[in-house]
Amino acid sequence: MELTVPKKDLVRLLNRMQGVAERKSTMPVLSNVLLAVDGPGTLRVAATDLYLALTGRVNVEVVKGGSVAVSAKDLVERVRMMPEGPVQIASHDNATTSIKAAGSARRYTLRGMPGEDFPPLPTPTEGSPSLALDVGVLQELIARTHFSISTDETRAHLNSALFEWDGDIVRMVTTDGHRLSKMEVKVSGRQASATMLIPLKAIQELRRLCDDLAAESKDGSRSPIQIAQSGSSAFFQGGAMSFAVRLVDAQFPPYSQVIPQQSEKVVRIPRAPFADALKAVQVAASERTGGVKVQLSKGTMRIATESPESGEGSDEVPIEYSGAAMTIGFNARYFLDVLGALDEDEVQLGLGGELDPAVIRPSSERRFLAVVMPMRI
């Protein structure tokens, strides 16, 4: 294999691959990236951790076809050191790979392995159902729900996002068992049915893919993301990038049962001042629990905390509320995550008893809601 590629294109692609290539895997091949000439003028770059496989394509000048796999970390470190402009990459029979640039004496060689020894990457079987979704819609679904995915890898059903396509509604729901976020978007004129549990790592990759695509096509002519489900995997493709992910084979919790249908008490709160006050009081909250006390009275919400180790802190926010006074404890971070994902001016907080789940949503729209479990305080 021998080719020339613009340094900045290759570095950008390799940076993405590094997130997938496992440095400490027990299988050394998984710390590698695959470089494979894929037709005239195209280099395919791929990395996998056996759950997630990421593939990108870049335009290159091909001198000689072929493929090689080399350490992702070693390659990106060396390519970064090359001068700006075209970089020549060549692999030889024994998989030794050289990196150099015209007009520069700087050069590296790396020991690699033959491209054929790289694990085969999954592909969707012919005729698998496929859906096209606007990048902006997927971006919004993820942005408003990703924060409540559980980071506990031992609980696969919570360490993932539920993605559902239900008629002309696409929906993403996530929960860590203590809070839940749900976002629904209507895609007019397109009917489909799909349910998948996408692991957290793939959601993060999908988010990057959407961000890249959105950034590339500011002129508005962006291509949609293609989603295909085949066997136990899902395939996402947009622009020059595609990835495959093994879906989580588990039961997502019965989320609709825990969303309160109506709330006894409804509070309207200006979003930015609410977030601001929570952040201020959180500084004084116990690091362990992040718990704050929310005291409601007519027209005023008082947020307060006290703990033996961090002293006391409090702030007030003007609210629209005319119900009975009440006090309820919450993890401040749960609210801050929600408020940070919204841009509406006002949110609506629905409350029941002191130990009943609370619902928070923008006052002006019905597509999003979050449920937060209170804590004893």
């Binding site: 559980s150 980071t151 506990d152 890898e153 031992t154 609980r155 929960t175 860590d176 068992g177 203590h178 809070r179 839940l180 919790p253 019965p254 825990v258 362990r288 629990t289 993890n331 130990l355 789940p357 449920v371 479990m373 804590m375 004893r376």
Partner: protein, 394 residues
Amino acid sequence: MSPAVTTVLHVDMDAFFASVEQRDRPELRGKPVIVGGASRRGVVLAASYEVRRFGVRSAMPMAEALRKAPQAIVVPPRRERYAEASEQAFAVFLRYTPLVEPLSLDEAFLDVTASRSLFGEGDAIARRIRADIRAELGLAASAGVASSKFVAKVASDLSKPDGLLVVAPGEEAAFLSPLPIERMWGVGPKTAPRVRALGYLTLGDLARAPPAALEATLGSWGTEAARLARGEDARDVVPDGRARSISAEETYEEDRVGPAQVGATLLEHATRIARRLVRADLHARTVTLKVKYADFSIRTRSVTLPEAVQDTDAIHRAAIALLAKVPLQDRRVRLTGVGVSGLAPGAPPAGLFRDEQAEKRLALERVAAKIADRFGDEGAVTRASLVRSPGGKT
């Protein structure tokens, strides 16, 4: 068993640093060993019992020690080694009670009042702790058992070396009375002559002295000392909050090999820990797995969970996940252990989804803890899957 009476243990490793050296280097056994800086200006950090016969004591200047015992073998300290042994000793203490107050690397108070229903009376617990330390560390520890910290400490000092002394409730004053005044807390070589000059030669003399006279001559320390000398000491055992953890481990008669066999050991550890968490009304954030191989090398792996846990399954799940991070292929494992730390009081916060299975398990664990409380047998209720053969899957 009278539950109203507090039972405190004072456990102290004998000639700790010197004993570790003698254990690790057989050629030093039975020899007069001093641990300390090699320079003659250094001080004695520890002295083996063989060298104490010559009057060598810890904190003595090295030059003086070598004058008293010129034949002594001086070895430089290896602090990591002592810290490691200390950690093992504290792990043993924590098996019997979460209420462990460390005084130094080799010395601690243990409040075992609530543990008596599980492990027997204070003397039985002290015997088990001494036996565990002997078996697992290859070191000797002395212990005192009494109804208060001060009496337990005096008892363990008197029991040395390698001894156990129990002072029964009600006997405290009689036990302390004949002891020389030097046994009192705060009485060192400098203050002793002064106290003796006042006519107080024994702890009994202090105990019987009129408070006004004590106050006049020795100040508030005098009245405090008199209270202690009467065996009155209400100070609680205060566990070190930062270092608190609960762990369970076991050395197997036959080495375990492979993920299935090794993994099968973890459920029992998780069950024991969950029971102790429920009993103590605590929840934990961090789970640690420990694996000791046949060559005695140890691997530990920890995970801090996003949410606090209290039940067997959550701890077990975390331990199993950690098992994937230690090498097991073709390696013989002689010991496995699971520990939890990051402890806080109360039950973990309520979740959105009612997990009926978990609720049932927790209820079961509460009942099991109560049964164990009543019948004093930790193994009285065992989860069914533990009964399977060691090679079975969990």
